[in-house]
């Protein structure tokens, strides 16, 4: 419960598979008040249907849970190489599992990379994130979901790599993330570590 401009709003619990347990049940009614679809249909201007619903009614739903989750290996070895060459490896598998059972499911997966460092991580012992690229391989899916992958040059700031949209119900997307590092000619030797951050929301 919370105060919201003087009125008390009771929050429903998200349901995928619903059992109504509270005493008060809201009268059946349309979930959305539909507005007349005139004129604007052909003009491109939007129309907003006002949501119906009584904010003061108590209603509780039992939760049938399912989450949006991400799977990725905790570590990956890319191998070794000489300065001036490109080292390639693969982070595999990367899986987005959307078990939220939504009528309209969508998610965006992003990737970012810290700079690669060795030894004392001084400037000379650092290879910038932008020397590496992330290429999502072929994306295989289950369920109804449209995915689009984009190869990116990695950076400290996250950028989208795979977007899932037009999903209906539970879905998954799996891909291999190809990571390639162009080792600068002036790089110093040693084992380099980079932190790859993959996020999905």
């Amino acid at each position: 419960m919370s105060m919201h401009g003087g009125k008390v709003h009771i929050y429903s619990v998200l349901a995928a598979g619903v059992a109504i347990t509270a005493a008060t049940v809201m009268a059946a009614g349309p979930a959305m008040a539909s507005s007349t679809q005139s004129g604007s249909q052909a003009t491109g201007n939007s129309v907003t249907s006002s949501p119906a619903g009584d904010p003061d009614t108590t209603l509780t739903f039992t939760v049938n849970v399912g989450a949006l989750s991400l799977t990725a290996p905790a570590t990956a070895d890319l191998g070794s190489g000489d300065p001036g060459t490109t080292i390639s490896g693969v982070v595999t598998p990367v899986v987005v599992t959307d078990d939220r059972a939504l009528l309209a499911a969508s998610w965006t997966a992003t990737a970012s990379e810290s700079d690669w460092t060795t030894g004392g991580a001084t400037l000379a012992e650092t290879i910038p994130a932008a020397d590496a690229t992330y290429t999502p391989g072929t994306i295989t899916t289950t369920g109804t979901i449209t995915t689009a992958g984009t190869p990116i040059t990695l950076a400290n700031a996250p950028a989208p790599v795979v977007v899932g949209s037009a999903g209906v119900g539970n879905n998954t997307a799996t891909w291999d993330a190809g990571i390639a590092v162009a080792v600068p000619a002036g790089a110093v030797g040693g084992p380099y570590t980079g932190t790859l951050s993959q996020s999905v929301s």
Binding site: S2, T43, G44, S46, A67, S69, D77, V91, V163, V200
Partner: protein, 331 residues
């Protein structure tokens, strides 16, 4: 368990072989990486938003100054081992048609309003827990909409290695679209400015709708595109979007629909219907897929929202725009 495995790796690397009979050394062709696998779900949704698909995925709200809301989120450890997670709010941006959480734990006005009841979690294998997100809008907060994400994060432990190696930090989050103000909620509106046809570099036809966010709240656009009145009266579709596009107030960009291979160039009557939450719009236009394919790859088609002018689009769009102008009748 992971740490002891790592120590075995180090011992072998240093050439120290355990005494025979102490234990059987593990076979180490390729050390298997432990997997990070965890997820989140928004649990509490305001009753009046229950038909709003966006509100089922994200925390979307409009609050007056001084108000407090609580939203439970579910955090699930899907790993066969213990997961050490942190839960925290982060700033986010809407750019190039995508909602992107910032790196690390970037603070913003919004993040200072958000607290998480359990910011550090240790979950047993396959355990799930509820956490509580509290958002307090302070006195003096400026009106307008802000964007953020509540992340659950798992970070891999450092380990010794040769060559180049990656440590993974994974995050799964729930977006926050929070508008501040008093009185009626700020309007959500958008306008489909044009519908045009073009082709990807590989020759596949694509329908492009250019959209302006004309309201005061961000929109997450999805929808369908249908073709009718083609050569010989053919029809095709409906097609769904290649990628959902998010635009903040004042932003504009393209949302694209990949049409079927082998479609005739047209002309076609294209009808594009888009929706964000409870707000919908439709535009019908005459389009043509012919002409020189735009220099697009599939991935750049997704990001036409960059606003890079594409000559092919302008040419193909002229016909659609003419039709649009004749039909339009502003409300």
């Amino acid at each position: 368990m992971l740490r002891s495995f790592g120590m075995i790796l180090l011992a072998l690397a240093a050439g120290i072989i355990p005494a025979a009979g102490a234990y059987a050394a593990p076979r180490l062709s390729t050390p298997a990486s432990a997997q990070e696998h965890f997820g989140v779900r928004l649990v509490d949704v305001p009753l009046y938003e229950r038909g709003n698909q966006r509100a089922l995925r994200y925390i979307v709200d409009y609050l007056p100054v001084g108000s407090v809301i609580h939203r439970r989120i579910l955090i699930v450890n899907e790993q066969p081992d213990v997961a050490h997670l942190t839960v925290y709010p982060d700033a986010a941006k809407i750019t190039n048609g995508q909602f992107v959480g910032d790196e690390g734990e970037t603070p913003s006005g919004l993040t200072t309003w958000i607290s998480v009841a359990h910011p550090v979690l240790t979950l047993a294998p396959h355990q799930q827990v509820m956490d509580m997100v509290t958002i307090k809008v302070p006195p003096g907060a400026t009106a307008g909409e802000q964007y953020g994400v509540i992340w659950a994060q798992e970070a891999a432990a450092a380990r010794s290695h040769k060559g180049f190696a990656i440590l993974e930090v994974d995050r799964v989050g729930i977006r926050v679209y929070l508008a501040v103000g008093r009185g009626g909620a700020p309007p959500t509106s958008f306008r489909i400015m044009s519908v045009t046809g073009t082709k990807l570099k590989d020759g596949r036809p694509v329908i492009v709708a250019h959209v302006d966010n004309t309201g005061e709240r961000a929109i997450d656009l999805s929808g369908t595109a249908s073709l009718t009145g083609g050569p010989g009266g053919a029809s095709a579709g409906p097609y769904t979007e290649q990628a959902i596009m998010t635009f903040a107030p004042g932003q504009s960009g393209n949302i694209t629909f990949l049409a079927g291979n082998g479609l005739s160039d047209g002309p076609w009557q294209a009808s594009v219907s888009l929706v964000s939450g409870f707000t919908k719009a439709t535009l019908v236009a005459t389009i043509d897929f012919g002409g020189k394919p735009a220099a697009l790859s599939l991935s750049s088609a997704m990001y036409l929202g960059l606003g890079i002018p594409l000559v092919g689009l302008v040419i193909a769009g002229a016909v659609g725009w003419q039709t649009f102008r004749r039909r339009r009748a502003y409300a």
